[in-house]
Structures are given as structure tokens and as C-alpha cells.
């Protein structure tokens, strides 16, 4: 018993499977353009897309560029996804006029900060403002706080966006991502 407990404690924690699951979901949805400002929570998904010759990963200088880029992609018949952190939602607000008024699909996958377990107080204003800002602009918002539900939430959001021609955002909570602990980092 003691040996078993010890080996369990020493074993590396299992990697979450949801980033690979949503890669498959997004591939099945026909995503060809990936517009992103990186976030640690998206790093594995970004690597998957970068290794995929069928998808174009475009690094943006600000997230609003991605809203416009994916409108252009839609005008040209391609589907895309915007990967961003919650702070980047604030950069998108006026640009969301474009998909909202033109009835264009937009799929945003937002990794949350300023949410469950946040350490950095400066993340709180935009983190807590993320959902109301999106909803004020007419974006449909689905938040997910359970790792097992991430893939199905993204799948439902992709269907909603591309079948009903609406902007849709999935917010992946810090319960899923794990909150950073800067105090621990600072001691090292």
C-alpha cells in the first residue's frame, strides 16, 4: 500500500486531453484559418494546428485583427477560429460590429484569467467583464468549467456559429486551465 501510494505520488500528472479533443472537433468543423494571440492555455492546441499543413496559423498583434481576418475568410469561403485570452476580448469590442451586423459566423475560444483562483489582481477587471462585454455586443457565450465538457462545448459552439451564422464565444474557465501561483514562482 505504501509503495503504491508512493508510486502514484511520483507519477507525472496525466496531461489533460481536452486540447487534443478540441483540435479534432475543430478539424471536423472544417477550420482552415487559425487567428491567435497566444495564451498558455492554448499552447498545445496551437502546436497541433502549426503541425497541420491544412491549417494556416496567423499570429496577430491584437485580437481585433482576428475578428476582421475571419470575416475576410468567410467572405472567401473558409472557416476559421480565433484563439485568445479573456483580456483580448476587450480589444475586440467594436470590431465585433462586423460579424454581428453582417450575420457572419465567428468562433472564439477564450481562455479565462481573472476567474477562479486568480492570483494577479490586474486580471480581474477584464476577466470579470469578459462575458458581459461579449453579450453586450450580441455574441452568444458558453462557459465551461469541467475538463470533460470542453470538447462538447466547443463542438456545440462551432455548430451554432457555422449553422446559424452567429458570433459565438466559448470561455474556458480557470478551473479547467489551473490558476497560476505567482508566489510559488517568485520563491524559486
Amino acid at each position: 500500500m505504501a509503495e503504491a501510494a508512493k508510486s502514484r505520488a511520483e507519477a507525472a500528472p496525466a496531461l489533460p486531453t481536452w486540447p487534443d479533443e478540441i483540435y479534432r472537433v475543430l478539424k471536423d468543423a472544417g477550420i482552415r484559418q487559425v487567428a491567435m494571440v497566444p495564451d498558455a492555455g492554448h499552447s498545445r492546441l496551437i502546436r497541433s494546428f502549426e503541425a497541420d499543413p491544412e491549417t494556416r496559423v496567423v499570429t496577430l498583434t491584437t485580437e481585433e485583427e482576428g475578428v476582421a481576418m475571419l470575416a475576410g475568410a468567410w467572405l472567401g469561403g473558409e472557416r476559421g477560429v480565433l484563439l485568445l485570452q479573456s483580456s483580448g476580448v476587450g480589444n475586440c469590442i467594436n470590431m465585433l460590429s462586423l460579424p454581428v451586423i453582417c450575420h457572419m459566423p465567428l468562433l472564439m475560444i477564450v481562455t479565462m484569467r481573472g476567474d477562479w483562483g486568480e492570483f494577479n489582481p490586474w486580471q480581474i477587471p477584464m476577466g470579470q467583464g469578459t462575458r458581459p462585454s461579449l453579450e453586450a455586443m450580441g455574441v452568444i457565450v458558453n462557459k465551461v468549467d469541467e475538463p470533460d465538457l470542453v470538447a462538447s462545448t466547443v463542438q456545440g459552439a462551432a455548430n451554432l456559429a457555422f449553422n446559424t451564422w452567429k458570433p459565438v464565444a466559448v470561455l474556458i474557465g480557470q478551473r479547467v486551465l489551473g490558476a497560476k501561483n505567482f508566489k510559488e514562482l517568485a520563491r524559486k
Binding site: R32, Q33, A35, R56, V58, T59, L60, T61, T62, E64, E65, G66, V67, A68, M69, L70, A71, G72, A73, W74, L75, G76, G77, E78, G80, N94, M95, S97, L98, I101, C102, H103, M104, F162, N163
Partner: protein, 199 residues
């Protein structure tokens, strides 16, 4: 400061850029560039913006990547370009061969009372584009140079950026449809065929 009488007229510039436009796809930035492109002839291959300031160049990028065999021309203003100037870095890295960005630079925010933009104080958009890595980037001051730019846009042999110095004249508005769904749907139907109407 340059002599305004020697500056190009914006509608002459846009008419020349769109001469024999064939299947050229055109994104027009909000305000006067929208009215200029519409004055040259409302067209189903135009996507003129009525809002979303700063969107024009990046719509052009997404479209150029989605339609690599078509030529994409973005016509916008200096204020609109400045609002998302970082997009020149993004576009330079992607370097689509089929994208031309033509900035009509009157050094003014024209719709709001002709207040000066940073280009009036010498901010050099073409140099910014060059510094980002867009190799074909220039300031355009003559109609002969506009014709060269028109040919570059239609040839599609590399990303092109041009800052076209124009007269700060206020002209009559020539407006395309304002409904975004009409503009989006007719554009997609033209580019993608009737299939674009179905899910």
C-alpha cells in the same frame, strides 16, 4: 507641406485602380474610401465597410488567404489604416502574393471635420510597411504611379502597400447598400456561387 493643388484627386485614383477590374475583389474602408469605390460603380465583388474602423486590411488578409487565385485590393484611408497599423506586421509575415493595400492619404479624418491625422505631421505609412517587411511599398504622388499600382494589384506577384497622397477635398457621398447581410451575401454568392446561400 505639399501644395494641395498638386495633389491627386481621390476619385480619379480609385477609378484608375479599378479600371478593367475583371474579377478583382475589393474591400473598402469606412467613410470616403467606401464612397469613392462606390462612385466607381457599385459591384457585387465589393465589400464596402460602414463601420468596424481598422478592419479593412485584415479582411483583405483573410480573404486573400481563402482565395489565393483571386486578386484582393483593399482601398482605405489613412485614419482607418492607422487605427490598426499593427496589422501591417501581421500581413507582412503572412505575405500573400494576391493582396494590395492602397491607402488614400488626405492627412485628415474626413468624416469628422477634417481634423489632421498623424500623416499630416509626417508619419510615413509606406516606411512603416517597409519596416514590417512588405517589400513593395511606396508613396504615390502621380497618376502614372497610380497606373503602376493598378497593374501591380492586378498582377498579384507579392503583397503591395501604397500610401497615395490625395487632395483633402470633401465630395458628394455615393453610397452602396448599407445592410451588411446584403453586402456579405451578394459578395459570397459572386465569389463562391449559389452554394454560398445554403448551409
Amino acid at each position: 507641406m505639399s501644395n494641395p493643388n498638386a495633389l491627386l484627386h481621390r476619385r480619379d485614383v480609385v477609378n484608375e485602380l479599378l479600371r478593367d477590374r475583371a474579377d478583382l475583389l475589393v474591400i473598402a474602408g469606412l467613410g470616403a474610401p467606401n464612397w469613392d469605390v462606390s462612385a466607381a460603380g457599385d459591384h457585387r465583388n465589393n465589400f464596402p465597410l460602414w463601420g468596424a474602423m481598422g478592419a479593412a486590411s485584415m479582411i483583405g488578409l483573410g480573404l486573400a488567404l481563402a482565395q489565393p487565385k483571386r486578386k484582393v485590393l483593399v482601398v482605405t484611408g489613412d485614419g482607418e489604416m492607422l487605427m490598426n497599423i499593427g496589422s501591417l506586421a501581421t500581413i507582412a509575415v503572412e505575405a500573400p502574393k494576391n493582396l494590395t493595400i492602397a491607402v488614400l492619404d488626405n492627412e485628415r479624418f474626413g468624416e469628422t471635420g477634417m481634423q489632421k491625422t498623424p500623416t499630416a505631421s509626417g508619419v510615413d505609412l509606406a516606411a512603416i510597411a517597409t519596416a514590417c517587411g512588405i517589400r513593395t511599398s511606396r508613396i504615390v504622388r502621380t497618376m502614372a504611379e497610380v497606373t503602376e499600382l493598378r497593374d501591380l494589384a492586378h498582377d498579384g506577384r507579392g503583397t503591395v502597400f501604397a500610401q497615395i497622397k490625395i487632395n483633402p477635398e470633401a465630395l458628394v457621398f455615393v453610397m452602396p447598400p448599407a445592410d451588411g447581410v446584403i453586402l456579405m451575401t451578394r459578395f459570397r454568392q459572386s465569389v463562391l456561387g449559389d452554394e454560398a446561400l445554403y448551409n
